[in-house]
């Protein structure tokens, strides 16, 4: 296959890795019933922090760790504000997203446009020799491999383990989970923190892998996209990941088209904005009444399966704090 295509595909998997981390992490959080709207700002802050730490200490691993901790800390604020103080998750999340974004610009000022450490490519022996799949998937760096693992791990945890089952129960019907001895709020804290840590890793992946270094608004908009992808992917790790890769594909398409002489007059900003707008439009379409009518054309059983595929269902208790009966 044309090396250009292989390279493009490989870069899609690499560039989508941060969004995979963020959206799968947020999927876990939302599946347990909490919305963490601070994603966009948190990714910025953690990207900056990871880079700054790595630059100062030379340790890329340390950068990732710091980012995970910060991500978890921000998510903790959302959780505490909702569970203990009864504040709306959306309100606190929004304020945090703006605050952390500005914090990243402020604290990151000294680090703008500096060259720093990054993760090197580490092809996996044997696997990277597979024709086509090898170069695309297995000649990447550790963070990208970790993104593959995260998808599988999230899927496995959610659908194959008892704790994962309980987590889903908490997000669907906390009263019933409580009746089975599950500590609802502890579960929500756990997955909010875990999701937050993954969001932190997403940030680190930007500044240490995908878009090296730091600049103001380095990762702009990707947090919102991750949130939209969670809905788009119906809160299912595989579909969410596909959404992330789809987004990556749209971005890659944008870069390819940009170089095409037919589009030479279109400013670059359009290409960078278009994938966002398209994804969100996609989201609007699939949940809208238009799709309803389309689905109505099918038999009930098929309709149900299609609906599951297209829409997924929000965890029924998403956003609602739990009170003991």
């Amino acid at each position: 296959m044309d090396p250009f295509i292989i390279n493009t595909l490989a870069s899609i998997f690499a560039n989508a890795a941060p969004i995979v981390f963020a959206s799968v992490g947020e999927t876990l959080t939302e599946k347990s019933g909490v919305v963490n709207l601070s994603l966009d700002g948190t990714i910025l802050l953690t990207a900056m922090a990871a880079f700054a730490f790595a630059l100062n200490t030379g340790s890329v691993a340390g950068g990732f760790l710091v980012a995970a901790l910060i991500g978890a800390a921000i998510a903790l604020i959302v959780a505490v504000a909702n569970i203990e103080l009864g504040l709306e998750q959306v309100a606190v999340g929004f304020v945090l997203t703006m605050l952390t974004a500005d914090l990243s610009s402020f604290l990151g000022n000294p680090y703008v446009n500096q060259a720093g450490p990054y993760l090197t490519q580490q092809p996996i022996p044997l696997l990277s020799q597979i024709p086509i799949l090898g170069p695309v998937l297995f000649q990447q760096n550790l963070a990208v491999y970790a993104s593959y693992v995260v998808i599988v791990a999230a899927w496995w945890w959610m659908s194959k383990t008892q704790p994962g089952l309980q987590m889903r129960g908490v997000g669907e019907r906390p009263e019933a989970a409580f009746a089975r001895g599950v500590n609802v709020n502890a579960v929500r804290y756990l997955y909010t923190l875990l999701g937050g840590a993954l969001v932190g890793i997403a940030g680190a992946t930007y500044s240490l892998v995908v878009k090296l270094g730091w600049s103001h608004n380095h990762t702009a908009g990707n947090g919102w996209i991750a949130l939209a992808i969670v809905i788009f992917g119906g809160w299912d790790p595989w579909k969410v990941a596909s959404g992330a890769y789809l987004f990556g594909l749209l971005k890659a398409l944008g870069s390819v088209l940009q170089r095409n002489p037919a589009f030479v007059n279109v400013p670059t900003q359009i290409f960078s904005t278009a994938p966002f707008a398209l994804m969100i439009l996609f989201l609007a379409l699939t949940s809208s009444g238009v799709t309803d009518r389309f689905l109505d054309l099918f038999q009930p059983a098929t309709r149900r399966r299609l609906e599951r595929l297209l829409r997924g269902r929000a965890p029924a208790a998403l956003g609602r704090p739990f009170r003991r009966g």
Binding site: A91, M98, L227, I270, S287
Partner: protein, 343 residues
């Protein structure tokens, strides 16, 4: 309901702000800066000269306009994050008027104002339709439309409306002077903009407090189901709220284009859509507190660039200050609520 004693009100208002400042001071120290100096720079930056006061007043306009509009959407329980796009569309429509119409000052400015409101209102209506009929949460609908608005303005600046010398990020050709909204003497103050803002604030205030419509909006915000059972047309009212907020945001955009920059630039909305949301949250969603909070934000916005000049600190410290204050005030309100509910 017992009136909460004044001392208690004061306590719960002052302590979170103090806590926010304290936290920021810590951050500044950790970043190797002097907190006292930083706060001083920001304050001076906003207050040091009459020009700066005028700048603060100018920055106040879009913040207060968006704040006024959002107090309406928030009353109905809606998160109109799409205000940013509504500002842009207002600016675009205003620019279209400037470029297409050849009239003396008074009618052209009247048309500009009208166009700005219509542009923003249309964009707001779109968000509303997506929410009401396509069941897309207004946060995502708003964000998507923001992205589209941004793409639209860039396309316009780089294609049909590009200056003769070639398209750049500095925007379109400057507008003809007849379309500039007049300033007061040699200052940078734009009285008309301020008057319009005050009108918008009054409209928002009286709508919410003094009309049936406002009462019905508030009922929807508190319990949409119960409001429906009282016979309130919830869907229709939500759409109207989006339209009104969009109109105000659009007006802000038109003013930005014709009173401040005198041209259409890509960053015409300047983040005011998002900042406006913070303003309204901090103002506890009340239109009567928006002017003061907007002034606070405007002052910080105007004063912050001095940090770069004199202390080599990034101006985003202003945003950090704003965000931290809102966060702490929110948390404090939640804490106070929790404490008063425990027996």
């Amino acid at each position: 309901m017992k009136r909460k004693p004044l001392l208690s009100q004061l306590f719960w208002a002052v302590v979170p702000v103090a806590a926010a400042l304290f936290f920021i001071a810590l951050i500044l120290l950790a970043a190797g800066a002097n907190p006292w100096q930083a706060f001083r720079e920001i304050t001076l930056g906003a207050l040091e000269s009459p020009q700066k006061w005028a700048d603060v007043a100018t920055a106040w306009v879009p913040l207060a306009l968006v704040g006024a509009g959002m107090s309406l959407t928030f009353a109905a329980g809606l998160w109109n994050i799409g205000a940013e796009g509504q500002i842009i569309l207002g600016a675009i429509f205003a620019t279209w008027v400037v470029r297409s119409v050849d009239l003396p000052q008074v009618p052209v400015i009247a048309l500009i104002i009208l166009a700005g409101m219509v542009g923003g209102a249309l964009w707001g209506l779109l968000t509303g339709l997506l929410r009401v009929y396509a069941r897309v949460h207004e946060i995502f609908a708003g964000l998507g439309l923001n992205f589209i608005a941004t793409a639209l303005i860039i396309w316009l600046i780089f294609n049909p409306w590009k200056p003769a010398r070639g398209a750049t990020m500095s925007g379109t050709e400057p507008f003809p002077e007849v379309t500039w909204i007049p300033r007061l003497g040699s200052s940078r103050l734009v009285p008309l903009a301020m008057v319009l803002t005050v009108v918008a604030l009054l409209v928002a205030f009286f709508l919410l407090r003094g009309t049936r419509f406002g009462l019905e909006l508030r009922a929807i915000g508190k319990n949409a189901r119960a409001a429906f059972i009282q016979g309130i047309p919830t869907a229709r009212h939500m759409l109207v709220a989006f339209v009104l907020c969009g109109a105000m945001a659009g007006l802000a955009g038109a003013l930005q284009a014709t009173a401040v920059y005198h041209r259409l630039i890509p960053r015409i909305s300047g983040g005011y859509g998002y900042a406006g949301m913070l303003v309204v949250i901090l103002a506890a969603y009340r239109p009567e507190w928006v002017p003061a909070v907007a002034l606070f934000f405007a002052a910080i916005g105007v004063g912050s660039p001095r940090l770069e000049l004199n202390l080599q600190l990034d101006a985003s410290l202003g945003g950090v200050l704003e965000g931290m204050v809102v966060l702490f005030v929110l948390l404090a309100a939640g804490l106070r609520n929790r404490l008063s509910h425990k027996p």
